[in-house]
C-alpha cells in the first residue's frame, strides 16, 4: 500500500500525488471510522487536516437536479471553478480535464470532472449544459445562487472576485483561482493542480495510480 518511495520518475509534479496517496488512504480510513460511528444517511462535511479544503456544497447541476457533494460519493472528482465568459484559462482547463479523462481510458468511469461557475448570474443551467456537453460527456456543470456559489467556493478555499471592467461584456469580468481539485471517492481532498503543471497524460498516470492503489484495497 505504501508507494511513497517510488517517486523518481514523477519529479515533475509539484507536490507529488504519491506523497498524497498516504493522505488519501488516511482520509479514507478516517472517513470509514467516521461513518461507522454515524447514522447512515446523515450528510456531513468532509475535512482533511492537510489543507482544510471541504468538499461541501448544495448546487444545481446542468440537468436541473439539485446536488450536494454526496451525490458524487464513490467517484474520484476533478473540481474546477471558472466561468463561461472566460475565453482563455477556463476552456483551456476544461479541455485539459477532458484530455485527462480520455487518457484514463476505462478508469475514467471512476472519475467525474466537475465545472463549478463563479458567475452564476450569467452561467445559468442552460449555459452550463452547453459548456460541459461540449467538453466531455461525463462532465458535470454546477451553478446556483450567489450565496450557494460563495459557500461552495469558500469550502474549497477558492478565491474569486468580480472585477468591474467597462471593456468586458456586461461591464465586468471575474478574477479567479484556476486550480483543479482532486477529491477522493470518499469526498476527501487529495491534491490541487494547475493546468500548466504537467501534461494531461502525466496527470492521468498519477490519477490512474491513485485509483489502482485504492481500488486494490476493496
Amino acid at each position: 500500500m505504501n508507494q511513497t518511495s517510488n517517486g523518481g520518475g514523477l519529479s515533475r509534479i509539484r507536490r507529488g500525488l504519491w506523497a498524497m496517496t498516504g493522505v488519501a488512504v488516511v482520509a479514507l480510513g478516517a472517513a470509514f471510522l467516521w461513518r461507522a460511528q454515524t447514522p447512515g444517511d446523515l450528510p456531513g462535511p468532509r475535512v482533511t487536516g492537510e489543507a482544510a479544503i471541504t468538499n461541501a456544497y448544495t448546487l444545481t447541476d446542468h440537468t436541473g437536479r439539485s446536488v450536494t457533494a454526496d451525490d458524487f460519493d464513490g467517484q474520484w472528482q476533478l473540481v474546477f471553478f471558472g466561468f463561461t465568459h472566460c475565453p482563455d484559462i477556463c476552456p483551456t482547463t476544461l479541455a485539459y480535464m477532458a484530455q485527462v479523462m480520455d487518457a484514463l481510458g476505462p478508469k475514467s468511469a471512476q472519475v467525474t470532472p466537475i465545472f463549478v461557475t463563479v458567475d452564476p448570474a450569467r452561467d445559468t443551467r442552460d449555459v452550463m449544459a452547453a459548456y460541459v456537453e461540449a467538453f466531455h460527456p461525463r462532465m458535470v456543470g454546477l451553478t446556483g445562487t450567489e450565496a450557494q456559489i460563495a459557500e461552495a467556493a469558500g469550502n474549497f478555499r477558492v478565491w474569486y472576485e468580480r472585477a468591474e471592467d467597462t471593456t468586458a461584456p456586461n461591464g465586468y469580468t471575474m478574477a479567479h483561482s484556476g486550480h483543479i481539485y482532486v477529491m477522493a471517492p470518499d469526498g476527501g481532498f487529495v491534491d490541487v493542480w494547475l493546468e500548466g503543471d504537467a501534461p494531461a497524460e502525466t496527470f492521468a498516470e498519477n490519477l490512474s495510480a491513485l485509483i489502482q492503489a485504492t481500488g486494490s484495497s476493496s
Partner: protein, 146 residues
C-alpha cells in the same frame, strides 16, 4: 514644413521596404455559445521594432489584446494591453494561459473547421490580413488540429 515632411517620408521608405513581419500559426478556439467571447492565438515576429496597434475582424465586434496573468496563488486575471511592442528578433507567441486576442461581440458562433480573416495593423508594417482557422473547443495549440 513641407520639405521636412518629405525628408522623413523618404527616410522611412527603405526601412519599410526591408522590413519583414510575419504572422504565423493563427488559430481560434471554436465557441460553444456566440454570446461568449472567443479567443485567438498566433505568433508575431518582426525584423524591425514595430508596434501592433489595431486588430479587426468581421467575426467580432471588436478585438482586444489580453494577457492572462496567474499569480503565485494560482489566481488568474486578464490584463488589457493597449499596444504591443515588437522587438527585432524576438517572436511574440500568443498561447493559452498567456496572451490571447479576445474576440468580443462575436457576430456568430466560431464553428470548428471554418476560418475568418483577421487584420492586424502595425505602426511600421501596416496592415496584414491572415485567415484564422477555427479548431475544436478542446484545442490547446495550432498543432493539434486533427
Amino acid at each position: 514644413m513641407k520639405p521636412i515632411a518629405l525628408a522623413v517620408f523618404c527616410a522611412a521608405l527603405p526601412t519599410l521596404a526591408a522590413a519583414d513581419l510575419s504572422v504565423t500559426d493563427p488559430w481560434a478556439r471554436a465557441s460553444i455559445l456566440a454570446s461568449r467571447p472567443g479567443a485567438a492565438y498566433l505568433t508575431l515576429e518582426s525584423d524591425i521594432a514595430d508596434q501592433l496597434t489595431a486588430l479587426e475582424t468581421p467575426a467580432a465586434g471588436h478585438v482586444m489584446l489580453h494577457d492572462t496573468v496567474t499569480d503565485t496563488n494560482g489566481v488568474s486575471r486578464m490584463n488589457h494591453i493597449e499596444a504591443l511592442d515588437l522587438t527585432p528578433g524576438t517572436p511574440v507567441t500568443f498561447a493559452p494561459g498567456g496572451m490571447h486576442l479576445m474576440l468580443m461581440d462575436l457576430t456568430g458562433k466560431l464553428e470548428e473547421g471554418s476560418t475568418f480573416p483577421l487584420t492586424l495593423t502595425f505602426e511600421n508594417a501596416g496592415e496584414i490580413t491572415v485567415e484564422v482557422p477555427v479548431l475544436s473547443v478542446t484545442a490547446t495549440g495550432p498543432g493539434n488540429a486533427e
